[in-house]
Symmetry: none
Subunit: 219 residues, 2 copies
Amino acid sequence: MSRKKVKLQWISNDAARRATFKKRRKGMIKKAAELSTLCGVNACLIVYGDGEQQPEIWPSAHDAAIVLSRLKRLPEMEQIKQMMNQEGFMRQRHAKLQEQVRKQERENGELETMLLLRHGLAGRSMHGVASRSQLANLAWLIERKMCEMRRRIESLRRSSVMPPPEAVKKEVAPASPALEAKEKKAPEAATEELQPQEWLLPFFEHGNGAWLDACFLKN
Amino acid sequence: MSRKKVKLQWISNDAARRATFKKRRKGMIKKAAELSTLCGVNACLIVYGDGEQQPEIWPSAHDAAIVLSRLKRLPEMEQIKQMMNQEGFMRQRHAKLQEQVRKQERENGELETMLLLRHGLAGRSMHGVASRSQLANLAWLIERKMCEMRRRIESLRRSSVMPPPEAVKKEVAPASPALEAKEKKAPEAATEELQPQEWLLPFFEHGNGAWLDACFLKN
DNA sequence: CCGCCTATTATTAGGAC
DNA sequence: AGTCCTAATAATAGGCG
């Protein structure tokens, strides 16, 4: 600003920093007062001094409190709404993608399982009660395949194009808390459902060979 | 600043004010950022736009909330002290003005009451126990006059020149919490004392005619 | 640390488009 | 209203006492 153009970085020299701080804080407060006067706007400025416990408050602690209460009065009402507006659209889109992903997953799952059964268990009979070791092996193979698929699905999710925040306007009104909650919970639940060991194994415990045939081997 | 030195007052022209506001707010935020960077201090800036519901917040709503919470954390212990530091001088001055006002009020009160009694009750005897209706009427007249006076006093108070915030430095150290509290309470108490119905009527209930003569009719 | 000074940079008012 | 321009004012870094 003066004899030398100053670099915009922390002034390491202690005395110089303190001097600059005092000058500039004074200047800032003057600017704030001018802005407030010239344009008749409400504003407040809080500057913590270098190491000072008490900040300098403009225009006064009292007026600042008024401004701040006004800011705090609409925190949940507007700020959350704002957040919802920004994330709601994304969430909705995410839920839709999730739905597509699950659908595809089911299709792929059926196809892969079918192929796996065809290749891995060709000629072996699934009728009656199969041996536990054979079925455990099958479960592991299926699980492995599904893990691969889940990795691919996650990759697809990550690479899916998200709408930039600027493009998100207030068009999307939140319908009801219950609905929001349901939509919010959906993506997580989708992942939880896909633990193969959890839902596959029971079928191997009770002799579901006929059912497996009906489901996977019909083609 | 530029082609013309601007007067420090509300810009009446709408477009000019908005333009100035935009430029200066931008400048302020830049200054704030510079100050924060150069001196490594914590600060926040909140500026309500002209008519905007949502203020512009620097550095961000979140960071501002942090700064504000820090301000709120030491609420009664330090903030009151701070308020006292900034407003104490003004309060003191206000209390002095208040004292002058009360003194003048007493003088005016005596004078006006005397005139009222001279004009409204000329020739009627105030000795002995006057009729309740006559005294109630007198009380009402006195009350009305004092209401007028209080209005005038309020007007004087409002028009009294307050010292600008810039002139108030940290020269005034708070002496003790008790003393501060007393000085803070004084201005309000002064107004409360001036309810005529409260303190006038008792005199009409117990036959104070002689006292009234002594007080108001001696001239 | 504080105030004062001044060369220099930064901000901005007013206009033009 | 928004952008660019420019003259003019305002802010201030670095010295000095």
